[in-house]
């Protein structure tokens, strides 16, 4: 089957293009509102906290905790046939926003809600890197 063995690369919207550009350089950057000082995600032109449209793409700590997670056993896309069982998680960054992601570097049965995690980047081909999260190492 053509192409189906590749994981689908994200198709950025105009608003999310800077996010993926930073990710390609292994930086996690999200929008920070110049008016109210809050972060938000997913990317959009106006701050969902105050609707201001002046913002700065700002690097974040890359640390957070697992708000919740699930473990895929069923294969919905051929590229993930070799990945099951894999964990998809909702990670709440220390800065507030929640990101959908994978938890890597730990067996699925050891993932837990509220577990501290830190960002790591997975280089897909075509110059795309995808932020994922692994357990936060003690003392870091």
């Amino acid at each position: 089957m053509p192409d189906t063995a590749k994981k689908p690369a994200p198709r950025p919207s105009p608003e999310s293009t800077p996010y993926w550009k930073a990710a390609r350089e292994h930086r996690l950057e999200i929008q920070h509102c110049d008016a109210c000082g809050q972060f938000w995600f997913p990317p959009s032109q106006n701050c969902p906290h105050c609707l201001a449209s002046n913002f700065t793409w700002m690097p974040v700590s890359g640390r957070g905790k697992v708000f919740s997670f699930v473990t895929y056993h069923r294969v919905y896309h051929p590229a993930f046939a070799k990945e099951v069982p894999y964990v998809v998680a909702l990670v709440e960054l220390d800065e507030g926003p929640r990101l959908l992601t994978n938890i890597v570097g730990v067996p699925p049965q050891q993932v837990a809600c509220d577990m501290p995690v830190q960002v790591t980047f997975d280089d897909y081909d075509e110059g795309v890197a995808v932020p994922k999260f692994r357990p936060l190492k003690a003392g870091t």
């Binding site: 198709r11 999310s16 056993h73 959908l100 809600c113």
Partner: protein, 393 residues
């Protein structure tokens, strides 16, 4: 909180209810399935199709102006017609909107329905079966999801189940009690898609899909349609069936997203239910039977909490007590629900709520003594919710 209008309480009634053939119905389109259900509802009510002057309906997500397609097939024009876009919450919203339209003098007799060939479209090819997707590509996310292997509705609901288990110690045995109870109900319903008994051992043996959900936590893929007819109570007196009064309705939409706030463990059912209870002038203790949107087992458990049938966090012990079975404290999804009757985006829950309130079922299917039925609709990525409260005919 704004006060729901009591002027809408008991002014309209459901006077007809119908379903199509359910399950695998090869060779019939979504639209024709719905015509089949609407025809059955029209015959059931004893109205002429030309008496209908309102259509509120929904079908497959890719159809444009679905109500136009249905009007053409029914061969009627309508004073009021539209298509709703709140996912599985649309169907009850349709009943609510019909009531408002009738009260406003914009229509007199409104048909509400949903139909989709979901079994056929997910079994049309190997690839379609793998993807298990009923929506067109243009409506799916292309970032912040697929690159992580995040596909399908199962996972989005499984997140809530994980979090609920973490916070309250809820168990898969408790989810299983829901699946087993609804299967028992389906076995009494000759139209139901699932025909074989289900034991707790079989529930646990079923393949894991997206943990914590296994196959039997997930609702069915069904070719299915359902429809009801709403009219004023005065007009209802001359019709064939005992009219089932619409006592109240409510809606709420957690538009910030299923992933935001505490929405995955406290759903929009809480606010939607409070509105409906106030309009109807009843509370959870008055409800004799519930028809709950059961896309997944866990969603029943959390909605029962949100509707006040037990406290938040106590849904597990509540469902495990046998409360949902016939003869239990709150017989729920008495036709088998979307887990065992057929998945029709909540429309069959409305149909079953109305049938229960007529009190014309044979003894083994009738919830004896139930004076109030609560029906829930839930959907649009776990964001939209609607509630319908029906009284005894």
């Amino acid at each position: 909180m704004i006060e729901p209008s009591r002027e809408l309480r008991d002014v309209c009634a459901i006077v007809g209810a119908g379903n199509s053939r359910l399950g695998r119905v090869p060779g019939v389109s979504s639209l024709d399935l719905l015509v089949e259900a609407m025809h059955n509802a029209i015959v059931d009510a004893g109205v002429k199709v030309t008496d209908i002057d309102g259509i509120i309906c929904r079908g497959p997500d890719e159809s444009y102006a679905h109500h136009q397609l249905m009007g053409a097939r029914l061969g009627i024009n309508a004073r009021f017609s539209t298509t709703l876009d709140n996912g599985g919450a649309s169907q009850i919203l349709g009943v609510a909107l019909a009531t408002m339209a009738i009260k406003a003098g914009m229509a007199s007799t409104v048909i509400i329905g949903f139909g989709r060939d979901s079994w056929s479209r997910t079994h049309s090819s190997k690839e379609a079966n793998l993807r298990n997707e009923t929506r067109p590509d243009s409506q799916l996310a292309h970032e912040f999801g697929p690159e992580y292997g995040f596909f399908g509705a199962v996972a989005a609901h499984a997140f809530g189940a994980t979090r609920h288990m973490h916070l309250y110690g809820t168990t898969r045995d408790q989810f299983g009690a829901i699946a087993v109870a609804f299967r028992e109900h389906a076995l009494r319903n000759p139209d139901a898609q699932m025909k074989k008994p289900l034991t707790m051992a079989q529930y646990h043996e079923a393949a894991p899909v997206v943990e914590p959900f296994g196959l039997l936590d997930c609702s069915l893929r069904s070719d299915a349609a359902g429809a009801v007819i709403v009219t004023s109570r005065e007009r209802a007196r001359d019709l064939r069936q005992p009219p089932v009064p619409i006592k109240g309705f409510g809606s709420f939409n957690n538009l910030r997203g299923w992933f935001a706030d505490d929405n995955m463990v406290t759903t929009a059912a809480k606010n939607s239910g409070e509105s409906a209870y106030r309009m109807a002038g009843v509370g959870p203790a008055d409800v004799g039977t519930a028809q709950i949107y059961d896309c997944f087992t866990y969603m029943v458990l959390t909605q029962l909490e949100d509707y006040g049938f037990c406290k938040k966090g106590e849904g597990g012990p509540f469902v495990a007590s046998g409360a949902l079975r016939m003869g239990g404290r709150l017989p729920t999804n008495t036709s088998g629900g979307q887990l065992s009757e057929s998945h029709c985006e909540g429309m069959l829950q409305v149909v079953e709520g109305a049938r229960q309130m007529r009190h014309t079922y044979p003894t083994e299917r009738q919830v004896a003594g139930a004076d109030i039925a609560l029906v829930s609709g839930h959907g649009g990525n776990q964001v939209c919710h609607s509630t319908l409260i029906l009284g005894r005919a």
